[in-house]
């Protein structure tokens, strides 16, 4: 070959190549800010040389295609960090909302405890004055309201986390459908040997979005992605998506079910969904239970001090606080049950120091609350004691009452069980051998729980050769300390979550920077490329026009009218 036509075809190829490169560059510039877009780079290759009578000449250029620049490992890291960041942010946002209830505002529990405590001190200086008595009742109401407000604040945070679970599951389902569709497209194109970078970009972006909603694991085979939750529940396989469902659980909260209806709530980690579930099922219930036990322990300890004394009418003191019998609502349902100031039990029974019961009332605030739960789970063996657990014949169970110093012993007979011990304790209480309030009961986990009114009581249940369980009810904390530790827990959780969110956010930013430097569009580069390809195009066009001129000259060679 050779000749002008060959050169013309080289020029045409060069024009095509430059045109393609300008296309790709324009597309890069157009998508510089599109999320998930990866930079496209044009691949050129040199055509085979051609042999002519003039020797070897070049064969021109071919544009092979356009390639996206991606780093898959980086993509996976970004997915993981996105999950964690989104989970920490969800928790942090919820905790920020919660901790306002624990900030000293004047209506929080610390402020209410302060005014209740002060009102009791004022009562001691002026015990028979109706105004100071009324002061105790109104600051008691304030305290009950502070407990109510804090509990409802925690509960509303829990409810909003629950709402987030429902909406997030719906978002996940929409996204998995999109992903399945894109996945199918990419899979088909890969199978037919084609490459569609735009579908892949969209797919990657959708997976990152999904990772923000819940933790995911992505495996690739034959160009198709298989996406599962962190725990292996399938979400997308090929072009098929598996919807998650929600249903109301026994606690009234939405449980997450996989497509087969299996409850996977507790296995979900990471992402907005993981964060919401963590808050709803772990963090907030922990705080609520601390708050509830403070409310119920403080109420019963103050009520006990009331009952110890006589009111202004000479009657035995009545309960001051009422709490719900449902221990999960102790703080939410706390209220003051007396409104008549004369019902405050300021007088001691049968003592000439008759107003000294005020000191007992104050002591409810300054002394350690009775810690009255020691379950068999806390014993030296992990085996829970249930009602039907048999006691070995001849084994001796003893309870030492630290208040009275008395010891209660129970010698097991041939068919004795924990249930018979329970009955024996009840009759010992009735007979006055053990302080009122001592009891053996079973919690929801089926464990034996010894309850005492005095801290430091011990219960030992021994079989003939081994100790089944040894319980020591630990000394409790004062209401102030107990509330302070709750404040610490809330503050610490909020501070940890926000620190974590910030730290992961920084890592994520670095990863995105790295990704940008690999797959992102650099406007300066593209501008320079544009100029380069523009020049290339102009040069190729010049080749074509030169050949055209030469052809004209060649054609005119035979004509007579020229020159």
């Amino acid at each position: 070959m050779g000749g002008l036509n060959a050169t013309l075809s080289i020029g045409m190829q060069a024009l095509d190549a430059a045109q393609g490169a300008i296309d790709a560059t324009s597309n890069n510039i157009a998508n510089a800010d599109t999320a998930g877009y990866t930079e496209e780079v044009v691949q050129f290759s040199e055509n085979p040389l051609s042999q002519s009578e003039n020797g070897v000449t070049g064969g021109g250029v071919t544009m092979d295609g356009i390639q996206s620049v991606q780093d898959e490992l980086l993509d996976v890291q970004i997915q993981q960090q996105t999950s964690q960041e989104s989970s920490a942010s969800t928790e942090s946002a919820s905790l920020q909302q919660i901790q306002t209830y624990f900030t000293t505002t004047g209506t929080d529990i610390a402020s209410a405890l302060t005014s209740f405590s002060s009102s009791l001190a004022a009562l001691s200086a002026n015990p028979t004055n109706t105004a100071t008595q009324q002061g105790v009742i109104s600051s008691g109401k304030e305290l009950a309201q502070a407990f109510n407000t804090t509990a409802s604040g925690l509960q509303s945070a829990q409810t909003s986390a629950n709402g987030l679970v429902t909406t997030t599951v719906a978002q996940i389902n929409t996204l998995t459908q999109q992903i399945a569709q894109l996945n199918g497209q990419v899979g088909q194109l890969t199978a037919s040997g084609q490459n569609d970078s735009s579908a892949e970009d969209q797919l990657n972006e959708a997976v990152v979005q999904l990772a923000g909603l819940t933790g995911v694991a992505v495996t690739q085979s034959d160009g198709e992605d298989t996406i599962t939750t962190g725990n292996g529940t399938p979400l997308v396989m090929g072009d098929q998506s598996f919807s998650l469902q929600t249903s109301t659980g026994s606690d009234g909260f939405q449980q997450v079910l996989d497509s087969n209806g299996t409850n996977i709530t507790s296995t979900i980690q990471g992402g907005q969904l993981g964060g919401a579930i963590q808050m709803r099922d772990q963090v907030i219930p922990g705080m609520l239970s601390q708050l509830n036990s403070l409310a119920s322990q403080f109420s019963s300890s103050f009520n006990a001090a009331q009952t110890e004394g006589l009111d202004s009418n000479g009657n035995q003191g009545q309960d001051f606080f009422t709490t719900s019998t449902d221990s999960n609502n102790a703080a939410a349902d706390m209220s003051v049950s007396i409104s008549d100031p004369s019902l405050l039990a300021i007088n001691s029974v049968g003592s000439t120091n008759s107003n000294s019961n005020v000191a007992n009332l104050s002591a409810a605030l300054t002394e350690a609350l009775p810690s009255n739960s020691a379950s068999s789970a806390e014993g030296t063996t992990s085996a829970p004691l249930t009602a039907s657990t048999a006691l070995t014949d001849g084994s001796v169970t003893s309870i030492t009452d630290s208040a009275t110093g008395q010891t209660f012993s129970f010698t097991a007979g041939a068919s004795s069980t924990i249930a018979s011990l329970q009955a024996a304790i009840a009759s010992a209480v009735a007979a006055g051998t053990l302080s009122a309030g001592t009891s053996l009961s079973f919690n929801t986990a089926g464990q034996a729980v010894i309850s005492t009114t005095t801290s430091g009581d011990t219960l030992q249940v021994a079989s003939s050769d081994s100790v089944l369980g040894e319980f020591s009810s630990t000394s409790g904390q004062t209401p102030a300390k107990s509330y302070a530790s709750l404040v610490f827990d809330v503050g610490n959780a909020a501070s940890n979550a926000s620190t974590q969110a910030t730290a992961i956010g920084t890592t994520l930013l670095q990863l995105t920077d790295q990704q940008s430097s690999i797959s992102g569009v650099n406007i300066d580069d593209e501008t320079a490329n544009l100029i380069r390809f523009q020049t290339a195009y102009q040069a190729a066009a010049r080749i074509v026009s030169t050949i055209q001129e030469l052809n004209t000259v060649t054609m005119d060679m035979g004509s007579s009218q020229s020159y």
């Binding site: 509330y483 302070a484 610490f488 930013l509 320079a528």
Partner: protein, 299 residues
């Protein structure tokens, strides 16, 4: 690999960070507190709960002390006056018992002692801010005249004793019932005075002597009761001093926990401001900077 030219996310993150520290610095200066929500410093927030409650209590204890101190002081001074009056009555009784007095003299003495009796009764009815000092916790006038009573007066108060909380687990008893001071069955001040009046009126020398003797021992009893009040006064005063120190140490603990040092906070604020404007200036410089700015527009 190329250099990442998309610096916008980094710049935005920097801007947010410096804005956040500026906000924190501003808030610290504005509120005077370095801990505004528990997450700012969980441990300090927890310690502040106890500090707040303790501060509230110490305030109330201090108020309690100033309330009862007035009562205790007036009780103490009332008893001082009672001792003076009784001493006078004893000297009248001693004079009346020497057998040299005319009936008219004895009658005059009886009138004087009667006057002393009224004084003592009115001292026994001392009240502070509407509350009777020697009436237990009852709100009625402790002693009223009662012809049917041997002493001529009835005690209307009760025997309640008030213990006032002046510290954590510290209560101080601040009153004695009048029945224990003025009309105890063994050593009744009012009873002895009444008998002295009757004996003087009747010119009963041995009666005068008996009444005078029992009055002398009543002085000792009242003196003891006065010592109780003096003692309470001392205790209250020293507890007040302690509470004042406690208030100071609680306040300084609160400052250490959640307060700020104004100079540090002001320096922090200036630093945050400088940093923020530096970040803003850098962003303004970097953002519009692309190759396009330097290319000539095609002619």
């Amino acid at each position: 690999m190329q250099i990442n030219s998309n610096t916008t996310p980094d710049l935005l993150a920097d801007l947010q960070r410096s804005q956040a520290s500026l906000n924190t610095a501003l808030q610290e200066v504005a509120t005077g507190r370095s801990v505004n929500v528990p997450s700012d410093n969980p441990a300090a927030s927890a310690a502040m709960v106890e500090n707040t409650i303790e501060t509230g209590n110490v305030d109330q204890y201090t108020k309690n002390i100033s309330t009862v101190l007035t009562t205790v002081e007036s009780a103490s001074s009332a008893l001082g006056n009672v001792v003076t009056a009784l001493t006078q009555a004893v000297s009248l009784g001693t004079e009346g018992a020497n057998g040299t007095n005319s009936t008219a003299n004895l009658q005059a003495m009886a009138t004087q002692v009667q006057g002393i009796l009224s004084t003592v009764v009115s001292l026994a009815n001392t009240s502070v801010a509407g509350a009777y000092v020697f009436g237990g916790t009852a709100n009625s006038t402790p002693y009223t005249a009662d012809a049917s009573s041997s002493t001529g007066y009835t005690y209307n108060g009760n025997s309640d004793q008030t213990s006032v909380a002046v510290g954590d687990n510290l209560s101080i008893q601040v009153n004695l019932p009048g029945s224990q001071i003025f009309s105890s069955s063994s050593n009744s001040v009012l009873g002895s005075l009444s008998s002295l009046v009757t004996a003087l009126q009747n010119g009963d020398t041995s009666g005068i002597e008996t009444a005078t003797n029992s009055l002398s021992s009543a002085i000792a009893t009242v003196g003891n009761q006065q010592a109780f009040y003096t003692n309470a006064e001392t205790q209250l005063n020293s507890q007040e001093t302690f509470l004042q120190q406690d208030t100071v140490s609680l306040a300084s603990q609160a400052t250490n926990l959640v307060g700020i040092s104004l100079s540090t906070a002001a320096t922090d604020l200036t630093q945050a401001e400088t940093q923020n404007s530096a970040v803003l200036a850098a962003t303004a410089k970097v953002l519009p900077d692309t190759l396009l700015n330097y290319l000539q527009a095609p002619s």
